[in-house]
C-alpha cells in the first residue's frame, strides 16, 4: 500500500468523488456555523461598527486566493519535474476557484473600504498586488486555453504559475514593507488583536473556504480527467458504472 497508487487515474477518480461529497458537506456545515457566530454571536466593532462583518468573508477569501495559488504553483512544479499528467490537471482545476476567491477578496474589500476609508479603491500595495494575483490566475487560464496541444499548454502554464508565485509573499508582507492604507495583520501566528468571537467566526469561515476549495477543485479535476482521457479503458468503465450512460 502506498499513496502513489492514487496517482493512477482509475484509482484517483473514485477516491476524489468520495472526497468531493465529504468536503462539500463539511464546507456547508462550517459556513452555517461561521455565519451564525459572525452575525449573531460576534459583537459590533467599536471602531468600524457593523461593516467589519465583511471580514468573515474578506479575510478567508484573501487567504484562500494566496494559498490556492501556492498549491497551484506546487502542482505545476511537480508537473514540470516529473511530467505527471495528474499534477497538471490539479493545477488547472484549482485556477478558477483561486480566481473566484481573489475576485471576492477584492470585491468585498472594496465594499469594506467605502464605509471605512471613504473609497472603494486605492492603488495601495496590498490591493494592487492582490489585483495582480487575480490577473495571474486569469493569465494562467487564458494561456492554457490558447494552446491547442494539451501537453504544451500544461508546460507553458506551469511555468507561468511558478514564476507568478513570487507575488504571494509580496501580497503577504506588503502591509509591513510599504506604508499601506490597508490595515496591518490582525492575526499573526500565535497572536491576535481581535475579540474571541470575531476570531473564531473568521477561522471557522476560513475552514469552510478550505473545504469548499478542496471539494470544488476535486470535482473539476474529475471532469477534466474525463475530458482528457475520453476513450481510455477506465473512462469507459466509469461510464458503464453510471446508470444514465449504461445503455449507451
Amino acid at each position: 500500500m502506498s499513496i502513489f497508487k492514487f496517482a493512477s487515474p482509475a484509482r484517483f477518480y473514485p477516491l476524489a468523488g468520495k472526497l468531493v461529497t465529504l468536503f462539500g458537506w463539511l464546507a456547508a456545515i462550517l459556513c452555517v456555523v461561521g455565519l451564525y457566530i459572525g452575525f449573531v454571536v460576534a459583537p459590533t466593532d467599536f471602531q468600524q461598527g457593523e461593516s467589519y462583518r465583511i471580514i468573515f468573508i474578506h479575510v478567508p477569501s484573501a487567504w484562500m486566493a494566496m494559498v490556492i495559488y501556492l498549491v497551484m504553483a506546487t502542482w505545476s512544479a511537480a508537473a514540470l519535474i516529473w511530467n505527471t499528467r495528474l499534477s497538471a490537471h490539479m493545477a488547472e482545476a484549482l485556477a478558477p476557484t483561486g480566481a473566484m476567491f481573489a475576485f471576492v477578496a477584492l470585491w468585498s474589500g472594496a465594499f469594506w473600504g467605502k464605509p471605512t476609508w471613504g473609497t472603494y479603491w486605492v492603488w495601495d500595495a496590498r490591493l494592487t498586488s492582490t489585483l495582480i494575483l487575480l490577473f495571474l490566475y486569469l493569465g494562467f487560464m487564458a494561456l492554457k486555453a490558447s494552446i491547442d496541444d494539451p501537453r504544451k499548454a500544461d508546460r507553458a502554464a506551469s511555468l507561468l504559475a511558478i514564476v507568478g508565485a513570487i507575488n504571494v509573499p509580496i501580497i503577504y508582507f506588503s502591509v509591513r514593507w510599504w506604508n499601506t492604507l490597508h490595515q496591518g495583520s490582525s492575526v499573526t501566528p500565535g497572536t491576535s488583536k481581535m475579540a474571541s468571537a470575531m476570531l473564531s467566526g473568521m477561522l471557522i469561515m476560513s475552514l469552510a473556504a478550505w473545504a469548499y476549495a478542496i471539494a470544488v477543485s476535486l470535482h473539476r479535476v474529475r471532469s477534466l480527467m474525463i475530458e482528457r482521457e475520453a476513450g481510455s479503458d477506465w473512462v469507459k468503465q466509469t461510464l458503464a458504472d453510471l446508470p444514465s450512460y449504461r445503455e449507451s
Partner: protein, 76 residues
C-alpha cells in the same frame, strides 16, 4: 443582534450585503459551471465510446479500398 439590525446593520447594510451577495453569486455560478462541465464531459466521453467501433470499421474500409488488389498472376 435583533433581526431589524441584522438587515440594516446600522446603515452599513448595503456594503455588507453587496459583499455577501457577490460571494453567494460567485459560488452559485461556479457550482452551475461545474455541474454543466461534468455533464458535457460525460456526454462527450460516451459519444467517443459509442463512435469508436464505427470509426474503426470506416478506417478499415478506407484502408482496404486504398490498397490495390494484387495483380493477377500471369497464367503459365
Amino acid at each position: 443582534m435583533s433581526s431589524a439590525t441584522l438587515f440594516t446593520l446600522s446603515g452599513h447594510g448595503f456594503y455588507i450585503w453587496a459583499s455577501y451577495g457577490m460571494l453567494a453569486l460567485a459560488v452559485l455560478l461556479e457550482l452551475i459551471f461545474l455541474r454543466r462541465r461534468r455533464q458535457q464531459a460525460l456526454h462527450q466521453a460516451s459519444q467517443v465510446a459509442k463512435e469508436a467501433p464505427a470509426r474503426q470499421a470506416v478506417v478499415q474500409a478506407v484502408v482496404q479500398a486504398a490498397i490495390p488488389a494484387p495483380p493477377a498472376r500471369p497464367q503459365p
